[in-house]
Amino acid sequence: MRHPLSPFTYLTRNPSKVLPMGFVIVLCVFLIAAVASIANSIDLTVRTIYRYTEFFTYVIPQRSTQSVPMDQRAILEMQPEIDRIIEGGVFFVNIKTVVGRLPFVVIGSTPEERDYLLKRIGATLIEGRMPEDGKPEVVVSQPILENRNLKLGDVIAGPLDDGGIAGSPVPVKVVGVLKSDIWVAMSSRTFTDKTFLLTPKCLLFTTKVPSDLDVVNERLMPVGRKGDGFLSPEKVNVLTRANLLAEVRDSLSSMYMIMEVVSATVIFVIALMSGMLSNIYFTQRIPEFGVLAALGISRARLMMKIVWETVILTVIAWAIGSVLSVFLLTYLAANVFKQRGLFLDAMDPWAYQHTLPIPVAITIFAMVTVWVRLKRLDAVSVIERR
């Protein structure tokens, strides 16, 4: 038999008092988890779309030149870890993202270089064929097709495309689909060379051991200290995973700060509200505690009873809120956000860390308010209130 003063006894037999508070906590957890997940999804979105930077690095000439200067190329060639350096023509297609349309690079390469790069990222052709030499055709990985809601044979870039650098003077069709989670689009070098005359040629390089890529990148152009690397930032720019993420995080830092303030405010308000609710419920239970105190139950034991009731309620509500958030965010991620170019991790630990202060704050608020009331509790006045 469970002890009559067990917190579970009270919680299971007083749903009308327990459920409203639990419901508030569940909603609060969902709110914070959703806001934090969405905020963090921008980072994840960038990492997903530009994941090819885990396999090769772009070296892009600065605006004044059409190709990477020879001295800069020579520096690349001197790096022992580098496997291949490929010069590629490029053009851009639009992709949908949470921050609107963004240009995504299409690499123009020879068939041999294309096969090498696709093998490096583990992409295989599952539908259609590879682009023919000189023709306005591309092969793209599945996520790009899904993002643009296109199918084989559709035009992916054309003269009417909106947006800054994206588009093509001639319609470019999708002729092949690659099976890969990595976003990649490839065309023929002949086509890019004859069509995009003013677009600078960039260099791609890979390393013999893929994990060396970060080391080489950092040596060539360190993140945050561009001038300290082997390459000259006046002549070239280097597109690496590390500097891409650094730029994104830097540009989103204000948004993250705002989110922290919003999250802290919401938690404070909810904790305050729950503390007030606890106080109201405690007021309703004063006869109960007065009698228990008169019967000889110490204030410390009564306090522990309330603390455990609050802790159990908030922890269970937090767990339900977290599970509910996972389900709802998984649904939203798959059915709403993905189509809009937003990649959301429904089980992002960072997001759920932000919900942890909720049960803690509520418990502390409830404890403080109830302790003050309990200290002043006069058992005789309760008993004599006839």
């Binding site: 038999m1 002890h3 009698v291 105190a293 019967l295 000889g296 139950i297």
Partner: protein, 224 residues
């Protein structure tokens, strides 16, 4: 033995002082049913709460077996009430989300719970509440609820039971049932009952009369 010596209790409201108890001294000999009688406002309930440590007197001292309880800490006093005293109030004050059986066991230490369940059931039976252990207070009559409160007072085998107008909210029949249970308990324990109903104290061993905060007639003879 419980005794009090020169107990005074003053209530101060603004500049007005009310003397609720004026130097009451009493000894409560063990194994007796003690009645404290008096009209409303005579200070009998206040005296009872001072005797059990729920209220502090303005002056005077209460001692249990020679040890003063007047200046005990809150925690020590709570422990004393839990281990040595039992209480029956004018209203049963049962917790409405607990069954009758659970209400009886509410003050029991968790490690003594299993051993006390059978005793609680025996008490229910003794008080004429057979089969009512799983009923919630809302399903019981006023008399039944008060008998559950009596069982709650007796479950810890207290040395002294304090009862404040335990029959005031009951009809005569139920009142006698409650008093009969308390009188039985007084055979080998101390029971102190506060009431204004002389009928209910017919079985008392000793009756003390309070009027205007003063002990006017200490009948130490056996009136049972």
């Amino acid at each position: 033995m419980l005794s009090c010596n020169d107990i005074c209790l003053d209530y101060v409201e603004a500049t007005r002082v009310t003397h609720a108890l004026k130097g009451v001294s009493l000894d409560f000999s063990p194994n007796k049913l003690h009645g404290i009688m008096g009209p409303s406002g005579s200070g009998k309930s206040s005296l009872l709460y001072i005797l059990c440590g729920l209220k502090s007197p303005t002056a005077g001292n209460v001692a249990l077996d020679g040890t003063s309880i007047t200046n005990m800490s809150d925690a020590a006093c709570a422990r004393l009430r839990s281990q040595k005293f039992g209480f029956v109030f004018q209203q049963p004050f049962l917790l409405n989300y607990l069954t009758a059986l659970e209400n009886i066991l509410v003050g029991i230490n968790p490690d003594e719970l299993s051993a006390s369940v059978q005793k609680a059931e025996s008490l229910l039976s003794y008080l004429g509440l057979d089969g009512m252990g799983d009923k919630y207070p809302s399903m019981l009559s006023g008399g039944e609820r008060q008998r559950v409160a009596v069982a709650r007072a007796l479950i810890g085998n207290p040395d002294i039971v304090f009862a404040d107008e335990p029959t005031a909210a009951l009809d005569k029949d139920n009142g006698y049932k409650v008093m009969s249970a308390l009188a039985d308990w007084a055979v080998d324990h101390t029971v102190i009952v506060v009431t204004h109903d002389a009928d209910m104290l017919k079985g008392a061993d000793v009756i003390h009369h309070l009027i205007g905060g003063c002990l006017v007639d200490d009948q130490s003879s056996n009136v049972r």
